[in-house]
Symmetry: D2
Subunit: 138 residues, 4 copies
């Protein structure tokens, strides 16, 4: 049995998430910081599918819009596309969906960092090519 | 695409877990409390496969033995079996494995609670029957 | 011994945070979602100092800018001021500081919700008065 | 304003904890894994008070007994004493209390590890002397 790192469909990466107790709070809904964990898991899954890379993406900015709450036992889908793409940085757009409904939107700007120098570095060409396949044209 | 709630094999439930950054700590390993989150996800997945129930399992006790650390990017498997099974309580035995290696063992005693009365209640017969299929005979 | 809910100084609320292992990740720094937890603790502490209220603040939006990383064992201070203040919503501005250095900035928009109706409701006058004392005039 | 690392009283270390939303789950209570985070913070605070040390404590075993649930907004106290004390390992006993009531008991066995060799090492004498002052004589 293998890990499910999601799949590509209609120009986006889709990553399924089930809401267990650990993601919820006593308001009966998913705690607001936990969407950032799911979003990291979706981005990390995308990277697993893209293959090894000579650095890491570091988060520079993150904006989240909370539209409707998710709850314990929900089956969600995180839809990930690529927004602005520069030499050493990228903005990832994510929507947390329950069926056709968008619950939460995240926009995360990441800088690619070479691990030997710890400085910003060009995103590898193989990644650029793959990111363009999920480039969102808004 | 559907959620992966694991599967049954050789008298145990198996649930795959990938280690993303959110489960790790600055010691470079998975933070000790996060194994309890994974273990909850494996038990919750088991319950999803077993079907709806008229109550919830509440944790009474939990013992964890940390044998070897898991790290970022590891693919793990949680092997879950049923230990002691009483009318209203159950001990679940879990092993967090990386390939053939056992990294962490958890033993968790849960009490089944009727949600209308909030009192301990008999575990449903359909659950008992299914739990016996993963009963560990140690 | 009592809980430390921070204090007011120079037109802002100040809340101290120590970084224990649980807030860090294997990159050796504080995990990006954990600043939202600290920020919630600072806002909750502010509310404790302000006194009871007939509703709860729900997060609608949150923007975070990560400037420098915090690390295990750091002593930080969260500086909280009030930004835009409307009848039923408020934007809270927060800076996570290590000595004089700003590490992370958060801007969080919250809606006040009456718990009996679950609908947006006017922020209590006693709160408005207190929020104005930490109103940031940018 | 300084961080509160707790204090010593009646042969034990006492560390105050307030329950914010982030520690709770949709059952309306503190999520079971989060007591391990608080316990880590209490032990880390103890170490801060004891002073620097040439290594780290790694968790080998942890047993938790959940007696009564804590809830959002509770003010708790973690009472920490020293149980079995060997050359390179120690068992720390902790009680999570709400006023006079014990909610949760934790027993955690830690091994002291030299960070240069990553091997078990003798607990420093200065620590041993201080740990004996909170030695529990059960």
């Amino acid at each position: 049995m293998t890990i499910n790192f999601g799949d590509f469909k209609n120009g986006a990466h889709h990553f399924p998430v089930h809401i267990f107790w650990n993601a919820t709070d006593a308001g009966g809904v998913v705690y607001y910081a936990n969407y950032l964990k799911m979003a990291e898991e979706a981005r990390g899954s995308l990277e697993k599918l893209f293959g090894p890379k000579p650095g890491e993406f570091m988060v520079r900015k993150c904006s989240v819009e909370y539209m409707k709450p998710a709850r314990h036992n929900d089956d969600l889908m995180i839809r990930t596309t690529c927004g602005e793409l520069k030499g050493a940085s990228i903005t990832i757009e994510q929507e947390v969906m329950r069926d056709e409904e968008i619950l939460v939107k995240l926009s995360t700007t990441l800088v690619f960092v070479d691990l030997s120098t710890l400085k910003p570095a060009r995103i590898p060409e193989t990644y650029i090519a793959k990111l363009k396949e999920i480039k969102n044209e808004q």
